[in-house]
């Protein structure tokens, strides 16, 4: 018994060391991303403007046509597929990414990604050590929740990179906020490791909370995309209306994907995980049914999950409603994510309900 306690304490302090190390490496990654952006600012591409003005000139005459090779490896040369972006949509090419085509910038970008992988692994080990030290899943309080959440969010980003999605532009905003998260976690939210009270012992808890964290991480990545979409969209419409955006805005936004691509990215990310969020709420209701004798009781946490769910449903509806697509839908998506955040931090801090256990 005493022996076990000693190893647990050892693991807990190991976990703390790992989390601090991860923060250090994230900071290095942060500087590498900054370097990528700074070197990238050397390139002076202004594709959007030329595409928009050129597009305006010949749009009436002919549709913008892009050509793409499909099935290139076939023995017989296969017919090519011509894609045509929808009429009415801007035909702006995606930016080259933070490095802006600059070789040195690209090098720093790659270094940043490698550092991100490294710090992800360290943080993951830290979370694992914490879990082993308490012999349960690492989300019994807000500190544990924060370190798990940020690990998963970075994991989602790395998974998207591994799937060869064009998402390196997410790096800087994501790592910046992850650092903020961790900073808050180790200073304000830190709780010494401990076990759960009986009401938290249930495998539904594992299912419910792990999917909740995953959904949150995904929604978070989607929200970053949405914010960038809003910036890029107003940039493009300014250009379209003959305005000249500031030099900084041009330098940064030219390197991001087009507004349409950003919008599509956030939609896909949010929509793909909405069913999982639905499942999360249902799993929570099943757990509540077992622990408290009612599956739905409008406890603050339940209420805010419901609000978040309805807000995302609103977003999906808005995307299918004429006159609500684009910016309005994007604002709803951000509100929905804010609800999610409030549910995980605000509700614990400001409102007491059945869900507040084990410290903050």
């Amino acid at each position: 018994m005493i022996l076990a306690t000693a190893t647990n304490e050892h693991l807990a302090s190991l976990s703390n060391t790992l989390i601090y190390s991860a923060m250090a490496v994230y900071t290095l990654a942060f500087f590498a991303y900054i370097a990528e952006w700074i070197f990238g600012s050397r390139s002076k591409v202004a594709r959007s403007a030329s595409a928009l003005t050129a597009g305006a000139a010949d749009k009436a005459a002919a549709p913008a046509v892009t050509v793409k090779q499909a099935g290139g490896t076939a023995v017989l040369e296969r017919p090519k597929v011509v894609t045509r972006s929808a009429a009415g949509a801007r035909d702006v090419p995606d930016g080259p990414g933070a490095h802006g085509g600059d070789e040195q910038g690209d090098l720093y970008g790659r270094i940043a990604v490698s550092l991100t992988v490294l710090s992800f692994l360290i943080e993951f080990a830290g979370v694992l050590a914490r879990a082993l030290s308490v012999q349960r899943a690492p989300w019994g309080n807000m500190y544990e929740f924060s370190i798990t959440f940020s690990t998963v969010a970075v994991g989602v980003y790395l998974a998207l990179l591994a799937l060869r999605k064009n998402v390196r532009w997410l790096g800087l905003p994501l790592i910046t906020t992850v650092l903020l998260f961790l900073g808050l976690a180790v200073t304000v939210l830190y709780t010494a490791s401990d076990q759960l009270v009986p009401a938290l012992h249930s495998y539904w808890l594992y299912i419910h909370v792990s999917t909740a964290i995953l959904c949150g991480a995904i929604f978070y990545v989607g929200a970053v995309g949405t914010v960038l979409y809003l910036f890029k969209d107003s940039y493009e419409s300014k250009l379209e209306n003959g305005g000249t955006p500031g030099r900084f805005a041009t330098s940064v936004l030219e390197r991001l994907p087009s507004a349409a691509s950003l919008d599509k990215f956030s939609y896909r990310v949010n929509a793909a995980f909405f069913p999982l969020w639905t499942f999360t709420i249902i799993a929570g209701a099943i757990w509540a049914g077992q622990a408290w004798g009612r599956y739905w009781g409008w406890d603050p946490k339940e209420t805010w999950s419901f609000i978040t769910w309805v807000a995302y449903a609103c977003y999906l509806h808005a995307r299918a409603t004429a006159g609500w697509k684009g910016r309005k839908a994007a604002y709803i998506a951000l509100i929905a994510f804010a609800c999610w955040l409030f549910n995980f931090y605000g509700v614990n801090i400001f409102i007491s309900g059945k869900h507040s256990y084990a410290g903050v």
């Binding site: 046509v65 050509v67 609000i307």
Partner: protein
Amino acid sequence: MSDTRSTDVHGDENPEILTSDGESDLGEAGSQLSTAPVETAMPGSFGGTRAPGVRGWITWSVREVFGWARWFWRQLTSMRVALILLFLLSLGAIPGSLIPQTGSDALKVQDFRDAHRTLAPVYDKLGLFHVYSSVWFSAIYILLFVSLIGCIVPRTWQFVGQLRSRPPAAPKRLTRLPAYATWRTDADPEQVREAALGILKQRRFRAHPAGDAVAAEKGYLREAGNLVFHMALIVLLVAFAWGQLYKSEGNKLIVEGDGFSNTLISYDDFKSGNLFSSDDLVPFSFDLKKFTGTYERNGPNKGTPRTYQADITYSVGAYGKEQKTTVRVNQPLHIGDAKVYLVSHGYAPVVTVRDGKGDVVFHDAVPMLPIDSNITSQGSIKVMDGYRNAQGQIDQLGFAAFFVPTFAGAGKGTMFSQFPALDHPVLAVSAYHGDLGVNAGLPQNVYQLDTKSLKPFKDSGGNLVKARLLPGETMMLPGGNGSITFEKNIKEWAGFQIVQQPGGGWALGGALAAIFGLAASLFIQRRRVWVRATTGADGVTVVEMAGLGRSESAKLPEELGDLAGLVHDRAPTKNDDPDADPDQEPGAETPVPAAEGAQKK
């Protein structure tokens, strides 16, 4: 939407295809790709011209009323209003999470009322202390569900219609569609169409030849999933409402060794839905054999409960066989529709009271109510009959009691318990006699002693007789009036909540159907493909393929490429075609160099 044709075209999702000018050559190609409602009705003079006379006025009014009713209905079932109602629903749910609710914590509501004398009546008027059953919140969700039903029914019909009809014929100019491929071949147009039909059918497209082209469509499951999802929401709501109306919920405190049978009178307190009747109670009974609680001994969370479990034996029905089981906090016992939850626990010291002659007049375990997390508990011991005082007169005895499982120690200045387990139990009692007031018929709190009509026992100094007893110790009442003994075997009690809420299965079924429907609706693309094969001016067959999805998707050109490859295998490009320039797309009016598009993924 300026031309008259497009007003009856469904699928507002595709304004990019339908609204831009000069696109009417797409015809019906994009129609019916979904079943989303379209805003068509406009308020205005529905009545039209009014004929003179009363008759004219009446017919005009009828037209007017029906017109408005229809307009209102269309509004209610439109996407925009659904969106607004959804938004209101989430907004309306917020106050209930910030303001204390009578449903979950009546005490807090009382505190709030006391603290905010002017605000509370306003909140009361607005129903803000019971948001989720308030008129306005109900109005929002009822409107939403009416809207939902009004939306689902026509959409379902429309979908059935779509399933029974065939994919629309190919538009005149396939080049205008989002994905397009073309080549020239030696094969007959007839052969090409046949091959394409076979390939599309094999790929599970619904395909049919229409004129000089083959029209095909796939992904109907998307629409089906969407409808299932919205219907499942209705099932979910109905199941939830049903459960609320027929639900019952009661609490019972049971001391180790005692039992319970599920009848209305056995409960300490009981709540039920409006349509519940006592015949609905599932017949069963159980005995609490033993309660076990363990607590964290060390560390910052010392005293936090680690296990709570109740070992019980139960039997179902009047003559059911006795069975053993354990009820834990997260593991209720299911008996039919009823669930037995372990919700609380405390201690029940066993106490013996003797009269002046030494005869036992009371011997029982007395449950005490915890008042803090270390189970400092409060209670009362009432001897109602059988007691005679030293003079032989009939009297009643009352003891106010205070119990701590772990006493801090004499002289430590606190009577509060230091730990929740039975480490150093102490029972403090003070003694009264007189009229307990139980015969007055007024409801009495069993855990509190009402000392109004009681007289304290006084010692020689004129002070109230009281003592701190360790297990096995006895306190004598002054004047030979008897004694009270705190026995060594301290029992524990467990509080059970017995809940019956029908409709849980339906709610779960609805929830699962909702998830699957949603997944189908979000992950499946509905798309159309056309393959046209015609004989060109020079007598060579021209094959054109085009695809259209509900929204722009990267998958669509990929799929079209695959299909084109398959068709191409059967009808290969004409060899030594003089026009075969790999960079030249014959269909596009102004070919754009490939490099431009290479950025776009």
